[in-house]
């Protein structure tokens, strides 16, 4: 019977409860950013940043890093690639080209370092160097997420990121709103558009670092794009937009987790598909009006 199994899991296993908590927190953080991502056309930038995480994972794997240090390296990779995209786009390269280049470069680096780690394993010196460091998760976990193994640390991490994202958006809400609505007026009113764009990139990188645990490197931009796209179909006002974003993201994450537990399918793709179905429904609803 559907959903009963999920309740049993939640009652019996800490990992399931932690997955739900981490998922709700990450959904909150990404939903808060989602409208801006859609309005500022940052969807593809988000894609670039999330794939950059792969390069960070490669570095983490080859150095045998764990815990906070590992998260920091991955965050640094995401942020550096965001800044690199911004820097390249300002010069002679168009933004989509810049993203295309950074995305494949960091992904290739990640794959190469993971392969190298495999090869280095035949040397005793390297095995000693790695001693005590955690095993590298499988390809599918990196690419498509592994929220079921997020653990208590994952919940804390998600809580901190969600807190930072919400605080950042609230703190800079006025300049940010002006910047999102029209950059020229923001500039003319003394708002630094570079600072605002930088702020958005930092927040995006933060969400990507925790979001990729839920849906993986490949699919994390779904969490950033779909809630905003769904809200844009249904709302024209600020508060309803934020609420719809949040509800859509939560429904997506919880629905995906339930589907994953009931049907024994991987949670990442299940979450993304629920969000896509929500989007389709919102588009149909809009047509009906």
């Amino acid at each position: 019977m559907l959903a009963w199994q999920t309740l049993d899991y939640l009652r019996e296993f800490a990992f399931a409860r932690q997955a739900v908590m981490a998922g709700v927190l990450i959904a909150t953080a990404s939903a808060a950013l989602s409208s801006i991502v859609v309005l500022k056309r940052l969807a593809f930038v988000g894609q670039g940043i999330s794939h950059a995480a792969f390069g960070g994972i490669g570095v983490v794997a080859i150095l045998g890093l764990a815990g906070f240090a590992a998260e920091l390296v991955i965050f640094a990779f995401c942020l550096a690639s965001a800044l690199l995209i911004a820097g390249l786009s300002r010069a002679r390269t168009r933004e989509d080209t810049a993203i295309g280049i950074v995305l494949v470069a960091t992904m290739a680096l990640g794959f190469m370092l993971l392969g190298l780690r495999q090869n280095l394993m035949q040397w005793d010196v390297y095995r000693e160097f790695l001693a005590g460091s955690p095993p590298v998760s499988g390809w599918d976990a990196i690419l498509f997420g592994s929220i079921m193994v997020s653990g208590a640390a994952g919940v804390w991490m998600s809580a901190i990121v969600a807190g930072l994202v919400l605080l950042g958006l609230w703190w800079w809400r006025r300049p940010l709103m002006t910047y999102v609505f029209d950059e020229k007026t923001a500039e003319a009113a003394g708002v630094s558009t570079r600072a605002m764009r930088g702020l958005l990139l930092v927040l995006l990188a933060l969400v990507v670092v925790v979001g990729m645990k839920v849906v993986g490197v490949v699919l994390v931009s779904a969490l950033l794009v779909l809630p905003g796209a769904i809200a844009a179909q249904l709302c024209q006002r600020l508060v309803p937009t934020l609420i719809v974003c949040w509800v859509a993201a939560i429904l997506g994450v919880l629905g995906g987790l339930v589907a994953s537990l009931e049907l024994s399918v991987p949670p990442g793709p299940a979450i993304v598909l629920v969000l896509v179905v929500e989007f389709a429904m919102s588009a149909i609803l809009r047509r009906r009006r």
Binding site: S35, L39, K40, W170, W171, W172, R173, R174, P175, M177, T178, V180, F181, D182, E183, K184, T185, E187, A188, A189, G190, V191, A231, A232, C235, Q236, R237, L238, P240, T241
Partner: protein
């Protein structure tokens, strides 16, 4: 009156600006806009209009020795930071899909100077409402900005610029994407604002209609400042020639026509 009011609204003194060395976009621009003037700056595309706007907003500065710009007697960047300059963007530069109401848009810049934990004081909120009323958008104040027509959106942007209590209002190509009726209403709105608030208004456009209706002074900009006088002096020949970049001789012959509020050579030292 505060002591600043003796300074002109805008003064450009011998300003030359080039993005690339050797090919100036603006050359030896001298002009002074006295307070309370409504000046239209007309020019062809690529004539340096947007560069001039950026200089006045302090987003660009002349290279050392290439002239000086002052706004309300201070550096343009400072006037901008103090939100003494209201800016009306081109309609097409605005993300009208944003889920914001007319009131939220109108109040956007007035609250920028506040700390994050402060909410806008009563004075500011009242001023926002007054400006929404002044531009005739009171009935639509709760509507989403995306539902409005181009002309209505522009009125909201005027209210937004005015809500920050500026002393100078800059309008960037205000007629782009606005129909004939909207333009006429817009011109009469500008007259109302000028009469009620007495602030300096500067319109930059390639469209004569944008300027003729709402301005009492006109200048023509095409790399250099070619002409400035009351609108009546602007004949079809002048325009035809300016838009062919071949006006210099004619413009010099026209200097000194009638009482100007726009003076050439406005360096004040």
């Amino acid at each position: 009156m505060n002591h600043q009011s003796e300074h002109p609204a805008v003064a450009l003194c011998d300003v030359t600006f080039a993005y690339q060395p050797g090919s100036p976009v603006l050359e030896k621009i001298n002009f002074t806009v006295q307070r309370g003037t409504r000046l239209g700056i007309l020019g062809p595309n690529g004539g340096g209009k947007s560069t001039l706007l950026k200089l006045i907003l302090g987003l660009l500065s002349p290279a050392p020795g290439k002239g000086e710009v002052s706004v309300l007697g201070m550096a343009p960047r400072l006037a901008t930071r103090k939100r003494l300059v209201g800016y009306l963007p081109q309609r097409l530069d605005v993300e009208w899909r944003a889920p914001l109401s007319v009131r939220q848009v109108a109040g956007m810049t007035a609250a920028l100077g506040l700390q994050p934990w402060q909410s806008p004081p009563q004075v500011v909120r009242e001023r926002i409402e007054r400006m929404i009323e002044l531009v005739g958008m009171k009935e639509l104040a709760d509507r989403p900005i995306g539902d409005l027509s181009g002309g209505q959106q522009q009125r909201v942007f005027i209210a937004r610029a005015l809500a920050a209590a500026p002393q100078l209002l800059l309008l960037d190509e205000p007629t782009v994407g606005i129909d004939q009726k909207g333009q006429e209403q817009f011109a009469s709105l500008l007259r109302t604002i000028h009469a009620e608030l007495g602030i300096t208004i500067l319109i930059v456009s390639h469209d004569l209609r944008a300027i003729a209706a709402g301005c009492d002074q006109i200048a023509v900009l095409s790399r250099t400042l070619h002409y400035h006088a009351a609108p009546e002096g602007l004949t079809p020949q002048v325009l035809a020639e300016v838009f062919h970049h071949d006006i210099a001789a004619f413009a010099h012959a026209q200097h000194g026509n009638g009482p100007h509020h726009v003076h050439s050579g406005g360096c004040s030292h």
